[in-house]
Amino acid sequence: MRRSEFGDFLERSLAILAREMPRSHARLCAAMRGRCVAFTVDGPPVLLSFAEGGSAVGPVAGAAPEIESALSKQTIFDLLDAEISLEEAVLSDRFLLRAPVRDLEVFFQALQLYLRGAVRCPSLPDLLEEYRRGDAAAAAAET
C-alpha cells in the first residue's frame, strides 16, 4: 500500500524530535496523551495518535480523531517560508481545523512544542528539504 508523503514526513520528523530533542518529544506526547489528530495534506488522511508510550502515525481506518485538520503541502511551505502566518492560514481557511475548543487549545500548545523542538533539531532541515523536493514521496511510494 502506498504510504502518504506527509505521513512519512510526519513520522520521520517525530522520530528525529524523539532522538535529538527528547525533552520536547516527551512534553509533546504528555500534552497530547490519549488524543488523535487526523491530517489531510494533499492525499488520504493520516492519523497521529498519542498514547502512554509515545506517538504513532498510521491510516485513519475507522478511528474517530478528536482533532481534524486539512492543509496543502504548499501551505506548509508558505508557513515555513513566512509567506503567511499561522493566524492568517487559519483565518483564511488554508489551514482548516475542526475540534472541540478544549482539544483545539491543547493542539495549539502541542504544535508550539513540536515547532520549538523541531527548530532545535540538527537533522530536521535535511528532512524538510527532502519533503520540499518531493523525495519523501518517492521513498514512501516504494514502501
Binding site: E20, M21, P22, R27, L79, S85, L115, V119, C121, P122
Partner: protein
C-alpha cells in the same frame, strides 16, 4: 608552528594595523566556543551584513558538541530587506584555526595584504557579495565580557573599514566604492537565552575625510536591570581617542518603531517558533558619554530593521532575536577641546531573548 612561521614571513610586509590583525583576528575554533566573523558595509544604495559563524551545539539531548557552520547575509537596498541564513554541511566547511581564512561552501573569506576579501553566495545564487575591506583603524580587543552566569565573550573590533566591490540581489547589482564599513570577531562560551542582553551600535561618517568613528555597547542581564558592561568608544582616524565607561554613560530610548509589514526574519521558519507582531525596537536611541570635561552624544533614529532568530540553548522553548536596525546617526560633542560632530549611517543591534 606552521601558523607562526607563516605569520613571521607575512608580517614584515604589512601595515601595523594589518600585522596586529594577523595576530589577533584569526579563528580560534576552540571546542565549546561560539565564534563568528561579522562584517557590515554602508553603501549609498545598499547596506550589507555578513556573518560567518561556527557554533558548537550545546543543546542537551542533541548530538554532543556537534559544530554547526552557518553563513548569514542581510541586505537592504531600495527594494527593502532581503537575506538568508544557510547551514553549511560539515564537509563543505574549511576553517583553519590560527588563520583569517575560511571556506563556507561556495563562499570564502581571506585576509591578503592586510585586506579582508569576501566572496559570498547565498540563496541559490540570488544573493552575492564580492567585497574587499581595508581596515582603517587599529583593532581593539576586549577583555572577556560577561554574558550571564558563567558565560563570556571576547570581542575584537575593527570599527572602520573601507569597502570596494559589489553586492547583487536577485539580479540587481550594486557597486561599492570607498563605502564605510565595520568588522568584528567574537568568540566565547555562553548559551543563547542565558541571563544576558546586549545593545550595540556603530556610527560612521560617510565621508572619508571625517576622522570620527563611534561604537556604543551595553551588556545587561536579560531583564536589562543590571549592567555588566557599558561603553562608548570614540576613534579619531586610526586611534582610539576616548573611551567612556560605566557611570559616565547615560542612555535612553523613546517611542517604539512600528513596521507597516512583517519584517524580514532569517531563518523564516523561526516565525513559527516565535510568532507575534510586537517588536522591542525603539524609535529613537540616545547615548551620552561624559567625564573629565569631555562629552559625546549619539542619537540614533530608527529607519527599519530585520531580524536573525536563534533558538535558545539555555531552554527548550525560547528564542533569541538579533534585531539589526538601520539607523540615521547624529553625533555631537567635545573631546580634549576638539569638536566632534558628524551625521551618518548607523547600525544598532539589539540581542534580546524571549
Amino acid at each position: 608552528m606552521r601558523t607562526a612561521l607563516l605569520r613571521t614571513r607575512e608580517a614584515p610586509m604589512l601595515s601595523p594595523i594589518a600585522r596586529r590583525l594577523l595576530y589577533t583576528d584569526h579563528w580560534r575554533r576552540t571546542r565549546g566556543y561560539k565564534e563568528w566573523q561579522h562584517f557590515c558595509v554602508f553603501g549609498e544604495r545598499v547596506e550589507v551584513l555578513l556573518n560567518l559563524s561556527l557554533m558548537d551545539g550545546v543543546q542537551a539531548g542533541g548530538p554532543a558538541g556537534r559544530e554547526v557552520a552557518r553563513l548569514g547575509m542581510l541586505v537592504r537596498d531600495g527594494e527593502g530587506w532581503t537575506g538568508g541564513l544557510e547551514r553549511i554541511a560539515p564537509g563543505e566547511v574549511d576553517v583553519a584555526g590560527g588563520r583569517i581564512e575560511a571556506r563556507f561552501g561556495r563562499s570564502r573569506l581571506r585576509f591578503e595584504n592586510g585586506v579582508y576579501l569576501l566572496d559570498v553566495v547565498l540563496a541559490g545564487g540570488d544573493l552575492r557579495a564580492s567585497l574587499a575591506l581595508e581596515p582603517r583603524v587599529t583593532p581593539a580587543l576586549t577583555n572577556p565580557l560577561s554574558l550571564g552566569r558563567g558565560g563570556g565573550l571576547r570581542w575584537l573590533l575593527v570599527p572602520r573599514v573601507t569597502a570596494q566591490g559589489s553586492v547583487t540581489i536577485a539580479g540587481r547589482k550594486h557597486e561599492l566604492r570607498d563605502a564605510p564599513g565595520y568588522h568584528d570577531h567574537n568568540w566565547g562560551r555562553f548559551r543563547w537565552g542565558a541571563d544576558f542582553a546586549w545593545d550595540w551600535a556603530i556610527a560612521l561618517p560617510p565621508e572619508a575625510n571625517v576622522p570620527w568613528t563611534l561604537v556604543a555597547t551595553r551588556i545587561t542581564d536579560r531583564a536589562r536591570h543590571q549592567q555588566f558592561t557599558d561603553s562608548l568608544l570614540l576613534w579619531k582616524w586610526d586611534e582610539l581617542m576616548r573611551g567612556f565607561r560605566g557611570e559616565g554613560i547615560t542612555s535612553r530610548t523613546t517611542g517604539l518603531h512600528r513596521p507597516t509589514a512583517r519584517p524580514l526574519r532569517i531563518p523564516a521558519a523561526m516565525w513559527l517558533a516565535a510568532p507575534g507582531a510586537a517588536f522591542d525596537v525603539p524609535a529613537r536611541t540616545e547615548v551620552r558619554g561624559e567625564g573629565q570635561g569631555d562629552v559625546v552624544e549619539l542619537s540614533l533614529t530608527t529607519l527599519d530593521f530585520a531580524q536573525i532568530a536563534i533558538p535558545n540553548d539555555a531552554d527548550d522553548d525560547g528564542t533569541t532575536l538579533l534585531s539589526e536596525i538601520r539607523c540615521r546617526a547624529g553625533v555631537d560633542g567635545r573631546v580634549r577641546g576638539e569638536r566632534v560632530r558628524f551625521d551618518g549611517p548607523a547600525l544598532l543591534e539589539l540581542v534580546h531573548a524571549a
